[in-house]
């Protein structure tokens, strides 16, 4: 379908060229104006870095935003064991298949499984945060604020359960996460 032309007042106006005046043709006044601008910037930047906005990275670091997804950590129960119940939700949700979980059995009745192996291959991970969303127990988090570090070999980029737990901490969240329980309460009220 042919687009209707815009009304004349809205159309772009052609640029009117005019003859340069003698002073403009000389260029020297324009060059002088340009020199004034660059010299102003030079002097003001030498004495006080007035316009420079560069953050000199390793020494000065911009703080990460609150919801920055950094390296994973596994949260712990009060007795220091992992909160993870090896439900495989995270490894199922993971789009890059980088979580390896081998489940083991627990003698208790309420919590039947625990992870014997829990490994995340950080080289495959795309830091999407799906695993955190999927976890029903608030067992895995990405709020460590640690930027993944480069390693000398691929093996070193795979962090195991011990490493993940060491980075973790005790959590006071109830099983299922605070958000989940809030939603449940909300739903209950309305049913």
């Amino acid at each position: 379908m042919k687009q209707p032309l815009r009304p004349k007042s809205e159309r772009a106006k052609p640029f009117e060229r005019r003859e340069m005046t003698f002073a403009e043709k000389l260029f020297y006044p324009a060059i002088w104006e340009g020199l004034k601008v660059t010299t102003k910037h030079l002097v003001e930047n030498i004495f006080g870095r007035k316009h420079t906005v560069t953050l000199e990275y390793p020494e000065v670091q911009r703080p990460y935003p609150e919801r920055f997804r950094g390296q994973h950590r596994l949260m712990q129960r009060d007795d220091g064991s992992p909160r993870c119940v090896a439900c495989m939700c995270c490894s199922t949700a993971c789009p890059s298949n980088c979580i390896t979980i081998v489940a083991g059995e627990r003698p208790e009745e309420t919590i039947e499984k625990f992870p014997m192996r829990f490994e995340i291959d950080l080289l495959k991970c795309i830091y999407c945060g799906m695993c955190v969303e999927a976890c029903p127990c608030d067992a895995i988090r990405m709020d460590s604020g640690v930027h993944p570090k480069p390693t000398y070999n691929r093996q070193a980029a795979i962090i195991d359960k011990e490493g993940l737990l060491a980075a973790g901490a005790k959590t006071i969240a109830t099983q299922g996460g605070t958000f989940g329980s809030r939603v449940a309460g909300h739903l209950k009220k309305h049913i």
């Binding site: 020199l35 660059t38 910037h41 030079l42 930047n45 000199e56």
Partner: protein
């Protein structure tokens, strides 16, 4: 007789060795850092400031050492199909004239402060300086690279065109001071006009000064006249194929040319080693502190013009090649001819 010749030669060699490696090359090395730092500051960046020795950064001054080391450690690639002898020779064919011209530059009030006080001073500078076009042309031709060849063509056309106007600009100054010996010209600038204004070249020949600045920057092939090495169309122009220390030689040549232009502007238009309102009487000239002060004044003015050229380079845009040629032949050359005519008429009428 021969003993005297040998002595004079030894003296000249010593002075040259102090002036050129001691001042020109040292400043050229420093300029490689100044250039980047200054451009950074102009463009609101930080610039190279990371190289450090034991944690001391000194505003990035050690980048000079780091860059030199890096250049020295790079392979000196000679491209296939090139003329290896000429390819290796070219940087030095450009560099030697760029350094030799400093021999006639009087940096102080007596003959002690000039390597060789030639009577043909400025002509010598033009004669030798124009030889460096061979270096650039041969570099472009021997590289066996079309970009280099185009760059070389542009260099030769541009340098030869602007040499004409460059020399003509100075004719007015020669007429006013009645000499082409640089020392005589500088001494002539010591007088005061009407008792207030120093009789500097810029005061008596203002038009010539501005045309000279434009033409001489075109001679050094720097922005806004750096079409020969215009990166967007020619990669790097005539030194596209150079690497390692040969590339560093090209940079040094360029910076030496910048210093030469600064020194010429100082000597011809800004009173050389003259300290304004302090006329060099013979009694004063005989004292060593006055001589040192004069040399300091000369170098200070030189540094100022080096700065001006750097500032211009980071202020202006690159001109199109045809614009450069138009400007040289249609504007600068006629205006400088007119300037010579007006100066001649004026001198004739006021005689």
């Amino acid at each position: 007789m021969t003993a005297q010749v040998v002595e004079a030669l030894v003296h000249a060699a010593i002075k040259f060795a102090i002036l050129v490696p001691g001042f020109v090359l040292a400043l050229a090395a420093l300029m490689s850092w100044i250039e980047r730092r200054q451009s950074a500051m102009i463009q609101d960046r930080v610039g190279p400031n990371r190289a450090s020795i034991g944690g001391v950064r000194a505003w990035g001054l050690f980048h000079i050492i780091a860059d030199t080391l890096k250049f020295a450690l790079k392979e000196n690639i000679v491209p296939r199909g090139s003329n290896p002898l000429l390819f290796r020779l070219a940087p030095f064919m450009a560099m030697a004239p760029a350094l030799i011209v400093f021999a006639v530059m009087p940096v102080g009030p007596t003959n002690r402060w000039v390597v060789s006080n030639l009577d043909v001073g400025i002509l010598f500078i033009f004669a030798i300086g124009s030889l460096s076009v061979y270096g650039a042309t041969i570099a472009g031709w021997s590289s066996n690279n079309n970009f280099s060849l185009l760059g070389a063509l542009r260099v030769s056309a541009q340098m030869i065109s602007y040499e004409v106007s460059l020399a003509l600009n100075l004719v007015g100054v020669f007429m006013v001071f009645g000499s082409i010996n640089l020392q005589t010209i500088i001494e002539g600038q010591g007088a005061l006009l009407g008792g207030v204004l120093p009789k500097w070249g810029i005061v008596v020949q203002p038009v010539a000064f501005f045309l000279f600045l434009a033409a001489s920057i075109a001679e050094t092939k720097r922005t806004p006249f750096d079409a020969p090495e215009g990166e967007p169309e020619l990669v790097s122009g005539y030194f596209t194929e150079y690497s390692g220390l040969a590339l560093a030689t090209w940079f040094l040549t360029e910076f030496a040319a910048v210093i030469m232009v600064a020194m010429m502007a100082t000597a011809v238009f800004f009173g050389g080693w003259q300290i304004p309102w302090l006329p060099p009487t013979p009694a004063l000239v005989a004292t060593w502190w006055f001589q040192i002060a004069c040399v300091m004044a000369f170098f200070a003015k030189t540094l100022f013009f080096v700065w001006v050229q750097m500032q211009l380079r980071w202020t202006l845009l690159r001109m199109r090649y045809d614009q450069i040629m138009t400007m040289g032949w249609k504007y600068i050359l006629p205006i400088s001819l007119a300037n010579v005519l007006v100066t001649g008429l004026f001198l004739l009428l006021t005689r």
